[in-house]
Symmetry: none
Subunit: 143 residues, 2 copies
């Protein structure tokens, strides 16, 4: 789990650096031709990297939130074999979110959420999300 995130982060970082280098190289070339347009380039770079920074922070925050939630749930899990993701989905279901909203929050496809949903319904021996919440409360694996 953690490793997967690290891999993703590494790739993300690599891509970012590649873009940066490419940008610098390209700008260097442009610089030779039009060396009086520095401000424009500076502006472009500013915008690009501000967006990049914002994007990175956004995803960082989301992951932080996920981990936060995950930790909350990690406390009391009996022998039901609910995986971490399934717990996360269950948690968000219990907060009244639709499958689509959960998918958006976790950066996943709605198909994936439905899969997790079906699987955890089987494990909880229920037929729908409402019953799942009741069961989860009974088993004290939520709240």
């Amino acid at each position: 789990m953690t490793k997967q995130i690290n891999v993703k982060s590494t790739i993300l970082y690599g891509v970012s650096m590649a873009i940066l280098l490419f940008l610098l190289k390209w700008l260097e070339l442009r610089f030779v031709v039009f060396n009086h347009l520095f401000e424009i380039y500076a502006g472009i770079i500013s915008i690009v990297f501000m967006v990049l920074g914002a994007w990175l922070m956004y995803h960082f925050q989301q992951r932080k939130q996920e981990k936060e939630n995950a930790r909350k749930e990690m406390v009391a899990i009996p022998e039901l074999g609910l995986s971490q993701r399934e717990m996360e989905v269950l948690e968000l279901m219990s907060q009244g979110f639709t499958n689509q909203q959960i998918a958006d929050k976790l950066f996943l496809s709605i198909h994936t959420i439905k899969t997790h949903g079906s699987n955890l319904f089987v494990k909880l021996d229920v037929k729908n999300r409402t019953q799942a919440l009741i069961r989860a409360k009974e088993l004290e694996i939520l709240e």
Copy 2:
């Protein structure tokens, strides 16, 4: 509260722009002196604005979270005008029954249950039954 945030945002924005302008001016000056250090400046700008972007997004996310929490606590309205039947339907919904099952229990058509459902969702200001249960518990009109 909201105004205060807006003021903060405005100040923040102003400061950001001031820094940007100052930076550009400063860089312009440097540019005249050392026009062969473009990459360094580009790098600096990149870093500065990536940090700025990240910082802005961080605060944006924080505020979003605050609003989210504020909205949750805003509830507390006991007089909702839920009718008797609507309460019955809500009660059975909270026990995990489907509309069809509720209809069978109350010897009613499933259409009627859906009508009651829709009506009570409006009164509770929610979108679906899961949220209705959450709201009902918040308002302590169940259990």
